[in-house]
């Protein structure tokens, strides 16, 4: 065997590649920065500026007018009391649900894990829809069992929002309860602590950060949610519905902006606090920690099984009743089976549904491109733009959908803005959906990029690969399953999102979730239900298709190993 070495090879011999790495990375960074400035920072500054703009010029007029009205303070009171109650219910129930799944042995855990997330597949007013069908004036209980329940108002909104926020709380708490150091539990046990005492002295303190994070997330979510109070609130108004009424009902943009700012401030604060808190949660578990194994305990397991199945039954029944109502002639008077409501012979027919699918697909594609690029720029390049870019990328996490949507209206319906041509088009709805969900999608991509780590880049560089070669041949092939997941996330969220897009839809750009709202508003409950069912079906179908694609890609690897 002969091995050749040309010991005279010059180190300075330049490898193929047109532009220098530095200029390419800078160009890509600028490419990532421009849209985020135009479509995130500009609308947010727009809403702030508009809040201070009055017919008399720049000033606090809008604030004084808003804060001076009794009605405003009643709405603040309503919003806060409803959000606090809803948060307590959702976080309290979700904590023990997550506890049941993480710390007890109960049957069919995979089913329980998925079932509790189903509200994420439905438009964010489906809970209100279900509650009305169940408990409303013409609801099943009042009609068949002769009750006299009035669900419209505070309790309806509170319960609907608690059900809506439940999966978000569950996801955070489940993650907090998943990490546990068995050694601490064993020590407590050998020292003679009973289960209740261990829960109070070990479990609760260890999950206090997750608990606090869940409270902040759910509170913001509920406080700024628009769909449920709109459908089931009745005379009970909250700040989120007030923004809608001011802007759409009375074209009071300035006052709408003030309430938008009022909603934005607590959301930003909550997000900052939550970030600080979750950073401390991670420090609790070290590399030496021993994972906790669930030991069977008959009494506890039976109690938690009953609890978990009751919760799942509640969540599923609200969805199931919507599905049921979509298949009966006239809920609850004529319960004979019919497919009539799926003819969609009202309004624009099925157009809103296909619009939604189109917008969601476009959002998925554009979103993957934008967040993928931004995450790569932030994590793989180093230049003066990457720091500010990473801050902007997660900023949407603190911006309620309604507020961002309002910012879009205020910024892009201004004829003086050259981007005004986008106003009233699907394109702007797609862009809004991308930036509304940007933070979470960015974090998913970032986590994956961090796991890929810098060593492959360094290996590629020392072997003579340029930045673009490394991206094309190494990073993207490793990242594609994550990017597909990001696409699914965008698709799902856009299909069901209501509050972000409500200000931008016009009769010619109608979306499915908005149709559900309008049909509910008109009292066409069965057709509204049918629309919701279609949205859920499309989301579930999308999930199944992508799951299959990933499984097939994974299966290829499996056969290779054999």
């Amino acid at each position: 065997m002969s091995v050749t070495t040309a010991s005279g090879s010059r180190p300075a011999a330049h490898l193929p590649g047109r532009a220098s790495d530095r200029s390419i990375t800078l160009a890509l960074s600028i490419l990532a920065a421009i849209p985020i400035l135009l479509f995130l920072l500009l609308p947010l500054t727009g809403i702030l500026l508009r809040g201070f703009q009055t017919p008399a010029g720049f000033g606090l007029g809008n604030f004084i007018q808003t804060f001076g009205a009794d009605r405003f303070w009643r709405l603040v009171g309503n919003s806060i009391s409803m959000s606090l109650t809803s948060t307590l219910i959702a976080v309290g129930l979700a904590y023990f649900y997550a506890y049941a799944l993480q710390r007890a042995s109960i049957p069919l855990k995979p089913f329980l894990r998925i079932a509790v997330l189903t509200p994420l597949f439905a438009p964010s007013l489906v809970q209100a829809q279900g509650l009305i069908l169940l408990l409303g004036r013409n609801g099943a209980l009042n009609r068949f069992l002769g009750f006299d329940i009035d669900i419209y108002g505070f309790w309806g909104t509170t319960i609907a929002n608690a059900l809506y926020a439940f999966p978000y709380a569950y996801l955070i708490l489940s993650a907090a309860l998943a990490v546990a150091d068995a050694r601490i539990y064993e020590s407590a046990e050998t020292l003679g602590a009973g289960p209740a005492r261990i829960f109070r002295d070990v479990t609760l303190p260890a999950t206090r950060f997750g608990l606090a994070a869940a409270i902040f997330v759910v509170f913001t979510l509920v406080m700024t949610d628009f769909g449920n109070p709109m459908v089931i609130g009745g005379d009970f108004s909250v700040l989120a519905t007030e923004v809608y009424n001011q802007v759409i009902g009375q074209a009071q943009f300035g006052l709408g902006a003030v309430i938008g700012i009022v909603l934005l401030v607590p959301a930003v604060l909550a997000k900052l606090i939550e970030k600080r808190i979750s950073a401390r949660q991670h420090a609790l578990v070290t590399a030496q920690s021993k994972p906790l194994e669930v030991k069977p305990s008959r009494g506890r397991d039976i109690a938690f099984s009953v609890y978990a199945y009751v919760i799942v039954a509640l969540i599923l029944s609200v969805l199931a009743i919507v599905v049921l109502a979509s298949f009966v002639r006239l809920w609850p008077y004529n319960m004979s089976f019919t497919l009539r409501h799926y003819q969609f012979d009202v309004q624009n027919g099925t157009a809103p549904l296909w619009n939604s699918v189109g917008v969601s697909l476009a959002t998925a594609i554009l979103g993957v491109a934008i967040t993928g690029l931004t995450a790569i720029v932030v994590h793989k390049f180093r230049n003066p733009l990457t720091g500010p870019l990473s801050m902007l990328a997660i900023l949407p996490a603190a911006v309620p959908g309604m507020v961002l949507g309002l910012g879009y209206v205020l910024t892009f319906n201004d004829p003086a803005n050259p981007l005004n041509i986008l106003y009233g088009s699907f394109a702007l709805i797609v862009i809004l959906s991308v930036y509304y969900n940007h933070a979470h999608a960015f974090l998913i991509s970032s986590t994956s990029l961090k796991q890929i780590g810098p060593v492959f880049d360094e290996a590629s560089t020392t072997l003579g690969g340029s930045t673009l070669t490394t991206l094309r041949k190494v990073t993207l092939p490793l990242l594609w399953p994550t990017l597909l997941g990001v696409g699914v996330f965008y698709f799902m969220r856009t299909m069901v999102s209501l509050s972000a897009v409500i200000f931008l839809v016009t009769p010619s750009t109608q979306l499915a979730a908005v149709s559900v709202l309008q049909l509910s508003d008109r009292g066409a409950l069965n057709q509204a239900a049918a629309f919701s069912v279609c949205i859920m079906a499309i989301v579930v179908a999308c999930l199944l298709i992508v799951r299959t694609i990933l499984w097939l890609a994974g299966a290829k690897n499996v056969t290779l190993i054999r």
Partner: protein, 350 residues
Amino acid sequence: MDLSIHDLVKRFGKLTALDHVSLEVAQGSFVCFLGPSGCGKTTLLRVIAGLEEADGGSIRLGGSDLSAIPARNRNFGVVFQSYSLFPNMTAARNVGYGLECRRWDKARMQSRIKEMLDLVHLADQAEKLPSQMSGGQQQRIALARALAPDPSALLLDEPLSALDAKVREELRIEIRAVQKRLGITTIMVTHDQEEALAMADLIVVMSKGRIEQIGTPQQLYREPATAFVADFIGRMNVLPLDPGPQDGFRFAGTQLEVRTAAGGAGKPVAALGIRPEAITLKGLDTTGPNVLPASVRTVSFLGNITRVEVEPDARPGTGILVELHGMARVPEPGERLNIDISAEDLRVLS
């Protein structure tokens, strides 16, 4: 082409990772950077590779300055600690990656890949993915990948530390064999002194961003220049000199005779060093120039050697290790005896 490093400085914030480091690496030699973690050895390698930018100083290869040349154009082969094979590519594609980047034509590339896989005895693993190979196989592929584009030097960053002991020893021999066959200038970073002693032509011992000593393995073991090197390579008793004005070397009230050249030229003498095997235990009646009365503190029987810790009468609290080989008589703890420190092996440390 010789690699010449001059007055290199690298800071990370307040921390000085490389503190005016200068070094010559001769063409075709195998050099190890050795030191505890945080001593700057990996930083030095990364600066040479171009993965970190130095804050001062220069690196020249065969007369041409490397400072302005980015890592991808330096043409150095780098092997990383572990898991640096591209997981989405087969072994063969990994090996061919550097050639792809250099736009080699297909036929030439295929034959080079084959040649490299043969070199590391893994031709049969060509179509395997990294996840299907053992750690040792992965590192051999990484070596083949680094060598394929015919680099002007090979840089190894703790290439063996993630492997288990047996594989590590095999790969040690294999890397050295490949390096000798190709005659390629090689720098390896390691914290394992045994690895450095076994593989290197020249060892650079580093501590706190500075070079402590450069020498062959034998030189470093026999003639450590500083207390740090003495302690880091093998075991050495460090005997701090008695306080007070120095005329010669006084330890434990005795004037010790030293018959080796003083190391660390110019620097103040800090202590004397003596290897445990260079001390003999004698009866209380012996006399001589380097004989001190002492008592036995602990005795550990370790099979082929017995390690005895003694305490000089005049320096209570200073433990001195003595190694007895074979079947020598083993003293009892508490026993009083004399120790004889060999003047030929006593080192002056700075």
